[in-house]
């Protein structure tokens, strides 16, 4: 181990996981190279569809259908994206998707934080009933009760509205369940101390519990944002004007079905790239919390 003595402290920390292999270290660790190669192959296979979609989005229609297929980007990216942007009313679609994703995520987190707080930190009559009413919905996605939910939204006069698009998505207990699990791990001493200091329940929630929950909230936000952004069946059913459509559905209209011309796959893919960029960006930027959240939620 002393062979590493010349290294700076920080570099040594970085090298730590490999120390175990140090004694066997040959000039080249062929095993590790093979693993890297295989991992890179996996990455390539997973990345190829997206890369190819991007390539298509930069080509002309003629280049798209050329044989053999062109696998490198061409120079028509700008006009395709402009075309997709204007033809699909992309600005409006993206705006609607953003509203649906953010409002449904924030709404769900808000009501879940409150109900989980009530269930963990209060004793009240009917608590068991409330608990089961919420948790029985844990795994019942909107898809399986779709027709009736549609009727309900109609009765409420919420068809084709943001309320109709977002509020029903909040009727799921996953988030509540996660917050309950998390609160249960918060040491009892914290609340006891707070009570001794005369801190009220709402103050406790706001100043003590929430600051502890930020990582969970962030992780949940990523998951729920993506869930909301990628909603398909529900907005497909309850929106009936172009002004209310979300981007994932708007794309559908670009799929060539009744073609009287060669399908413009390039424009289609340009639109697809724009539609998938926001959720992918959210994942990449919030990755740290997301992965942490994944692991926490799995506990």
């Amino acid at each position: 181990m002393s062979a590493d003595g010349a290294l700076t402290a920080s570099a040594r920390v970085e090298a730590l996981p490999r120390i175990a292999e140090a004694p066997r270290r040959a000039p080249v660790d062929w095993g590790a190279v093979a693993v890297h190669a295989l991992l890179l192959l996996c990455v390539a296979v997973i990345a190829f569809p997206l890369y190819y979609a991007f390539v298509i989005s930069t080509q002309t229609v003629e280049e798209v259908i050329a044989r053999p297929p062109m696998l490198s980007p061409s120079g028509h990216m700008f006009e395709n994206y402009v075309e997709a942007w204007t033809r699909a009313h992309m600005a409006r679609l993206l705006w609607n998707s953003a509203i649906v994703a953010v409002v449904s995520a924030v709404g769900k987190i808000a009501i879940s934080v409150l109900s989980a707080f009530a269930i963990v930190y209060f004793d009240f009559r009917g608590k068991a009933v409330a608990f089961w009413m919420i948790f029985v919905t844990l795994m019942l996605p909107v898809e399986v009760r779709i027709m009736s939910t549609y009727e309900v939204i109609g009765d409420l006069g919420w068809l084709n509205s943001y309320a109709g698009l977002t509020v029903p998505l909040m009727a799921s207990a996953t988030a509540t369940f996660l917050f309950r699990q998390f609160y249960l791990t918060v040491p009892n001493e914290l609340v006891e101390a707070a009570q001794l200091d005369g801190v009220g329940p709402l103050r406790f929630l706001w100043s003590f519990l929430l600051p502890l929950s930020w990582a969970n909230i962030a992780a949940l936000f990523v998951v729920l944002f993506i869930y909301g952004w990628n909603q398909y069946l529900w907005p497909l059913m309850i929106t009936n004007t172009e002004a209310m459509r979300v981007v994932v559905i708007g794309l559908q209209d670009l799929i060539p079905r009744t073609g009287t011309h060669i399908p413009e796959w390039n424009v289609m893919m340009a639109a697809a790239m724009m539609a998938l960029l926001p959720p992918v960006a959210v994942i990449l930027f919030m990755q740290r919390w997301f992965v942490k959240g994944l692991i926490e939620s799995e506990k």
Binding site: I65, D155, N240, E242, P256, T258, G259, T260, I262
Partner: protein, 438 residues
């Protein structure tokens, strides 16, 4: 307190003046939902604009609500929520659902009650027949078309075929296809769009064959499909054999197969006459049209049935609005609008006057492809060729097309597949009959 109320009075007066003084507020709005996208949507908007400018009392608001099924379900949902549009465009297969709904204001009744004279006799029979009950027209034909054969003249030339003579019979279609493939002029002979509509719903009446019992559903609800008879098995069986040989290439549902024709992969395409306008812009080769192919003797050559959609008037609006609805209907049926609509979109003109005017202007001489579809509608319809009146036809068409796919994939014989389609279709018809028991 007094000052306060005086101020409010002043405000109220101001608002009232503002309301009365704005002429736009006086116009009655007529809501019209349709499924016309792209070029067709632009044409629809233009038609609506012309009507709005032609008078000052009514303002028609046209709105594209998606695909045909989406428009229909959207209108039904809106009706159930007591907030329907005045006018909704419903495709051919939704006709029976609309007729039996109790939600509609029949067009003949509307015109009579609103005292607007219409010469119903001027409407061409194969179009009105589809949408009439007991001789009365229930919805206003808007965009009607019939399936025709499109062929690639360049490929025909390359294969040594006469480019001015499209194949008229199925036998000729098969022979021409084989020559084209052998000459390397195209990879496949022909493809078909809207498979159930072109290959069954139209091919049956075209040969004067019954598609379903009760005169294709016109005379009763206890209707059964008849497509698994000798004629159906022969026709679909031949297509399946050709699919195996590569003569025919199945290309999916709706208009998706068109791409095979546009890209030159298939030399012929059987598709609605409504795509003429689009093909004129996008086809990079010489092309022409011919009538829907026929099997020849012993089958009689009848007429094709129209596809497309009509405008239905829904109940539940203010009585005064219906005057405007009637005037809009009258407007779009007038010869001038009919001619403009036909020339712009490729949909059929629906009155004899409009057709005669177009003939006088040598329109069909100059644009022979526009005549093909009309020429298929000239025969006097028989009970087999009036049209189809089947409940839940959307689902039936879906069932038929999925069985056609099984047949063309070689999973089932034509007989087996058509029998399965009939069984599924009859179950759907039975469900509809039960739900609509008087």
């Amino acid at each position: 307190m007094e000052a306060f109320s005086r101020r409010w009075t002043a405000l109220a007066v101001a608002v009232a003046v503002l309301l009365i003084g704005t002429p736009a507020q006086a116009k009655t709005e007529i809501h019209f939902w349709h499924a016309m996208g792209g070029q067709l949507g632009a044409a629809t908007n233009e038609l609506v604009k012309q009507f709005n400018q032609s008078q000052s009392e009514y303002e028609v608001k046209a709105l594209n609500k998606g695909t045909y099924p989406e428009v229909l379900t959207g209108a039904i949902a809106a009706y159930r929520q007591k907030n329907p549009p005045h006018i909704v465009q419903v495709f051919d297969v939704g006709t029976q659902t609309m007729l039996l709904s109790g939600a509609i204001y029949p067009i003949f009744q509307l015109m009579k009650e609103q005292e607007i004279a219409v010469n119903w006799g001027d409407f061409i029979k194969p179009v009105t027949g589809y949408y009439s009950k007991d001789g009365n027209l229930y919805s206003m034909p808007f965009n009607s078309s019939s399936p025709i054969l499109y062929y690639n003249k360049t490929a025909f030339k390359k294969a040594g075929l006469n480019p001015d003579k499209p194949p008229a019979t199925w036998k000729e279609v098969g022979e021409a296809s084989k020559k084209i493939i052998a000459a390397g002029a195209a990879k496949c002979g022909f493809t078909t769009s809207w498979p159930s509509w072109t290959m069954l719903e139209n091919t049956f009446p075209w040969h004067d064959q019954p598609f379903a019992t009760n005169q294709n559903g016109y005379t009763g609800l206890d209707t059964k499909l008849l497509i698994n008879g000798e004629f159906g098995v022969k026709h679909i069986g031949q297509l399946a054999a050709w699919q195996k040989e590569g003569v025919y290439s199945y290309g999916g549902r709706m208009g998706a197969p068109d791409t095979k024709f546009i890209s030159g992969e298939c030399a012929m395409d059987i598709q609605s006459s409504a795509v003429i306008g689009g093909f004129k812009k996008s086809l990079k080769f010489e092309w022409g049209t011919g009538q829907l192919p026929h099997w020849g003797a012993p089958y009689k050559k009848q007429n094709a049935v129209v596809g497309g959609a009509t405008l239905w008037v829904l109940k539940g609006q203010k009585p005064a609005d219906y005057k405007g609805v009637a005037r809009f209907m009258k407007f779009i049926a007038e010869p001038h609008q009919q001619m403009w609509w036909h020339v712009t979109t490729g949909y059929l003109p629906i009155t004899h006057t409009a057709i005669k005017n177009l003939e006088t202007g040598y329109h069909f001489k100059k644009n022979p492809e526009q005549w093909t579809a009309l020429s298929q509608l000239s025969a006097k319809p028989t009970p087999n060729s009036l049209g189809h009146r089947l409940g839940n036809f959307v689902q039936i068409r879906e069932a038929i097309e999925s069985e056609m796919e099984n047949i063309f994939a070689g999973k089932k014989t034509a007989k087996e597949g058509l029998e399965a389609a009939v069984a599924k279709g009859n179950a759907i018809l039975g469900e509809f009959a039960a739900a609509n028991k008087p």
